[in-house]
Each structure stands twice: as C-alpha cells, then as structure tokens.
Amino acid sequence: MPNNPTHLPLIITGAAGWLGRALSSHVAHNADGLGVSQLIALVRDSEEQALLQSSLPKDNNLDLRILIGDVTNTPDIDRLFASSSGAFDLVHTAGIIHPKKIADLFAVNETATKNVMQRALHRGARRVVHISSNSPFGNNPHTQDTFRADEPFNPYLAYGASKMGGEIAVQESVSQGLNAVIVRPPWFYGPFQPARQTTFFSMVKSGKFPVFGDGAQRRSMVFIDNLVDGVCRARAWEGEPGRGWWIADTQAYRVSEIVETVGRALTDEGHTVKKNRLRLPHLLGQVAETADGFIQRTGRYVQQVHVLGEMNKTIACDISSATHDLGYVPAVSLYEGMRRSIRWCAQQGIEL
C-alpha cells in the first residue's frame, strides 16, 4: 500500500481534459491527504481555463496555478516546469485521441511526451505518472484472452502507434534516471465526459448500440473515479520506476453485458430504454476497421468509423498487479458508475 508523499507541488498536463478535470477536482478536495502543496495545471486556452475552474469545488483552499500553454510548444513546457522550484510530482495526462489530422496524434502523444519527460528529468521531478492506453497493445487474440501487466506492443492504428511512441519515450527517460511509472486505462466513463460520450447513452437508450456477432467480445472498463484513485496510488508508489499498470474493473465485461447494464442504469434513473436490437455481423466491424485504417493512411480521421471498427474487438486487461503493487481495488461498480454518469449528465443539463 503506497504512502502519500509529504507536501509537494503537483503538475498536471491536460488539466482541462476529461481525466485532467476529474483528477484536479479530486486533488482540490483532498490536497492535504494526498500531500499536494500546490496544483499547477496546464491548459490550452482561456476557454479551457474556465472549464477547469468550473470543475473545481467553490470553496477549496488549494494553492492553484493555471498556466496557459501547449505541450507541443517547448517554451511552454519550460515555463510550466519553471513555475515550481525544487521537487515536484507530475501527472502527464495531455494527449489526443480524436484528432483533426493524424500528424497531430504523433505531435502530442509522442513528441510532446518525449519533451515533457526530458524536461521533468532535468528539472528533478520526484515522481512522474504517464497516462497511456490499451491501444499500444492492440486487442486480445480471442475473446477469452486477457492482457497481462506486461505485453508486447501491437499498436492499433495511428492512435496506438502514437501512444506506443509515448511509452517508449517514457522508458527512455526512465533509463536515464527519471522516476516515472505508467498508468494504462482502457475504456473509461463518468463525470466530465466530453459531449461525444453522450451518444453512447443515447444509442443504448434508443436500442441502437452496435453489438457485433453474439456480443461475446469483452471490454475492460473503468469508472473515472476509480481511475483517479489508481493514478493517485501510482503517484505515491515507491517501487522501481518503469512499471506500468492497467487500471480498470476487476473483470472485463461482455459487450452485451455492458449494453444491458447501461440500459438498466438508464431505466433506474427514470429513462425509457428500448430493447437493443442493433446486432451487426462481424463482417461490418471488419469493414469499418479496414476503412478506418484506409482513411488514417491518408492522414485523416473519422471518429464514427474509428469507434465502430473498434467495437467488435476484445480488449480485456488483468489488474492484479495494480491490486498487488498499489492496493488498487475498483470501488465503484459498472452499474453504480453508470448511474452516477447519467446523473452527472442530468446535472449539466445534457439531454440523453
């Protein structure tokens, strides 16, 4: 069980992102317990700054500094690290998944990560937590397979390749002495979710969530609060640098089970849910995947095609080393997490 460090500044990149806001909000609520003396948040523009501020509790006594800058811009990274003197911790959540063009993926997820890690090394970061993904590892070879903590790279399309580049950059810095670890969330959900995620609920509600074949594909999922817990534990862990953990629910779910649970959560929150009847042949998933690959090779990106292409895959991961090393146990179940997400949407005035 990791112990939290004594009061140190915490730098969060991508602080206005989905995970960034959830993490910042958690830190704002628990700064003392987590041993955070100051939160230094990097956001891209004033719009993001406002978004982040609106996500934080009103009456916190957190020492908060928000910096506007871009991780792809080296002077901005320098400014970010110059803002803390002495030791600090860093959680590098900045990354993009649905880019305008493919080159952006590599600029942010790979090159910027490399620069951030190198700066963190030279500025004497105490501990760095890098947020990666399942995508450097592709998908499981069959529905019953589960990814172990350590797997060979098999990047899924350009996003996977760029996140793999990020992991390799982290490991290079680790070999030069950086005290960094990697957290790999698979599909996560919950408060602060971007607008695109609400289509997920609307699809389930209208009975049109794409279930491929017999729906036996399995997916690991994680509620955002569980993920934040995992990130905090990784930050406090005192073992060997270079380690990586899956942070997810204990078991992966069958896609049909996910659709059923979300349907139940929606019903219990007072929504009318139609029976899901969008059963698609496996072939369509393959077609979407091929199309996605083809489109991406032209340097472009179409989100719907990408998501559809990924839905007929099994991405299941084994969290036992996170439990063993970090004492991580997912506290919020899928059903409960979905209910909280639906309620959060309602509070934000988001129509489902």
Binding site: P141, H142, R148, A149, D150, F153, N154, M164, I168, Q171
Partner: protein
Amino acid sequence: MNSMQQIWDDANESKMSCEVLIIGSGAGGSPTAALLAEAGFDVLVVEEGRWVEQGTVAPFSLDQMEQQYRGGGVTVALGLPSIAYTEGRCAGGGTEVNSGLYRRPPTEVVERWRDRWDVRDLDPDELMKTATEVETDIHVTHLPGPASVPSQLLRQGADALGWKHDESPRWMTYPDGNPRHGQRQSMTRTYLPRAAKAGARILTQCRVNKINISHGKATYADISLANGQAGRISFKFVFVCGGAIQTPAILQRSGLRKNIGQTLAVHPTVKLSARFADAINVPDDVPVHQVKEFAPDLSFGGSASHAGLIALSLLDQWSDFKGAIEDWRNMAVYYAAITSEGRGRVMSVPGLVDPVVTYRLTARDRELLRSGLSRLSLLMLEAGATEVYPAFRGAPIVRGRKDLATLQKRFSANKASVMTVHLCSTVPLGENRDLCGAGSYGLVHETKNVYVNDASLLPDAPGVNPQASVMAIAVRNARHFIAQEKPHA
C-alpha cells in the same frame, strides 16, 4: 537381453496367426500389448519401424530423424499454411524420439470429453488413478538437479514478467544422479519388454496394409515385411495403434470411414531462436520448463536445438538471419503452442503409401499464433536475449520492445513455419454417433472386433503434452477389454 529372444527382427513366415494382433508399438500399442499378454492373451505386436536400441543414436539428432521418424521427419499437412508434423516410426513409436515431458490430462478436459462425446464411464478420478500407475511404470520424475541453461532462461524470462511456469516431469531415470544423464523410459525400456516377458511376440519392420473385414468382423491383416515380402496374419481381435495419422489410414484402407480421419486435432506451434551473449546451447536435450500463464490457449517451451535445427529455424528469413548461424552455440530454439479450433483430415489415397493430410487454422488460431510468438519473444528479451529470430517469412530481428510491434505487424500464419508433434482425435471415442468413430472403449463402431487404442481416440487435443492422456486411456480400455473377453477365452 534375454527376454528379447522373442523379438524377431526378420520374420520369415508369410502366414502367422494370433489371438490378438496389435498394430503399432507406440504409447497406445505397447501398454495394450503388456496388459493383454499378462492377462494371458496370445499377443502379436507388429511394428513398421525398426528396433533401435537407445543410446545407439544421438537423441534429437538428424541421424535419429533419419532412423526413427516417418519420412525422415518431413511430413506435411496441406493447407494455408501447411503444417509440418512428425511421427515416430520405430519400436516404441513416438515415445522413443519425443521430449519425454509428462502432463496429466487436466480434469476439465476429461470432463469435456466425457460430456461432449458421451464417453461412458470416463471418470476423471479413475483416469488419474490409472495415470498414477503409468507414472510408476515409466518412472515419471522431476530432474534430480538443476535444469539446463536454456530451460532456466525460459524460467527467468517468465519470472521477470510474473508469468506462471513450472517444470514438467519426464519419464526418465538418472542412474548416476546427473540431470544431464537421463535415460528415457520409452516403450522399448518399459512396456515392450514386459509384453515380451509375458509371452507376446513382437515383430518389427512389418507394415500392416489393410485389415480384411466382412459383416463387421475382421479376420486377418495383409502385411508387408522389410524385404518386400507380403504376408497375412489372422487373429481373433485386432487393436489398431498406428498413431493418429496411420490408424485412420489403415481403417480407411480396410473400408471403414464413418467419423474416421475427419477431425484431426493438433497443437499448432510456431518457433523462434534466441541469441544470448554467452554459450547456452545444449544440443542433445530439451528444456523441461514450460510457461503456463496463458494455458490452455497458449503454452511456451523449449525445442531441440542442435546446430542443424537452429539453421532450420532461421530459414524463413535466411537472407537477414543467416549471419546468426555461426553463433549457434549462443542460441536455442523455443516454441509457442496453441490449442486450435481448427480441424484437419486424414485421407488414404489408393496408390499412395502415406495418407494425404490437411489442416485448416481458424481466424482465432491465427491471431493466437501471432500473440504467442510475440509474447514468447518478449519473454526471451526479458530472459536476456540480445536478438530474437522469429520463424516466419519477412520477420524482423527483435532486439527491443519496439521491434515486437514490427513482428506483430508483419506476422501472418501463412508466412510462418507452423509445425506440430501432437496429433490426435482422428477416431474419437464415445457414444455420440455424430462425432465418434469408436465406442467408449475403442471398439470401432459397426465392427465386432476392431479396436483402436492410441492417440486417435482422444476426442480433441488435451491442451497439454498428450502422451500421458494416450497411455491412461489405453490402459483403461485394455483393462475393459480383458474384463469383457477373458471369461470367454
């Protein structure tokens, strides 16, 4: 050896008779012969291959392949990709040439066989008791000392990744206590001498071409001897134990076809060679450690690795890989084996000595081979390999983790050297007539006295090294036969 007096290396009679004819002296045939002879039956074992005394050829050598394997070890199941398979052809069959790694059939596998194929009275506990007896008979034991370096490397790599592994026991004795001086307790050392002692006759270099059956009753077998001479052996009962490829071929040549040779199951295997900074090669033995983290879907282990076999494993991408061969002393070959959803067929074709064999991998099998080869490569890197050479056309040399992405991208099962040494399920046993070629104790359906008692009977591949399963089932069936037929004899 005195008790071997009855073993004729050259038969000169063209007509013989016996009460029970056993075709094939491998893991299935030999215990059957011993138990039946000890129960008082008049047993004649015929074996196509020669009697090769252990120690007269180097284990795992090319010389051994030449002498004790069918087709010199080069036999191929057609398909995309083709799958190379090997069968022992000598007194003792596969047990003389194999790695000797002993794995009981997992309980859930036995239950699956019982339930899905409807095998009567196949009780997992009873079968394990039988397995225990076999273990005593063939001296199944762990190493008396440290494992060979290639075996330890496998273990180290698995430890570094936190992957489960264990040491497989082997049918071996270690007369001087040195783990490098093991003597394989194959059939020519165990059940065959026992059979001979109990009065069984053993005839080597005698091939059965077909069995003559009318109205479900078999009466004699047509044979040919090494010198080309033809002959005939008449019998009251026949046990076909030619292995999972030859047994269905013999039955088909004899006119039996229903559920025979349609469901060949194998453990498809891909390989790599790993190069280390130091000399680690052990030419005359194989590793005993196996990585079971992903079992039963995937298992990793070590293969025979003399210089010739290392060259063979580099062949697929020879233009890039050939430089490594000079360093063979620092190298060893490892495998990733999968359980396969695919199935194959064995078809005897008039005019051809050997049957035509085909096998089709499913999409899942192919993905699993990819995943297996890359996970195994990762393990070798963790074990300290400086370079890993995966055996498929277009493969990269793997020097670091980034290269694993290239490996996975370039891999396709069609480009790989897929092979197998575990063949089974061509005459599945059980009462389910839609699936089974033989009854619950191996009596071929629609016959009165034709039994199968070898690897062909296993309903599907056990997901572990199969010889223990083959032997336990063979002993079970032999006992049942004795109980049924002895009172009438």
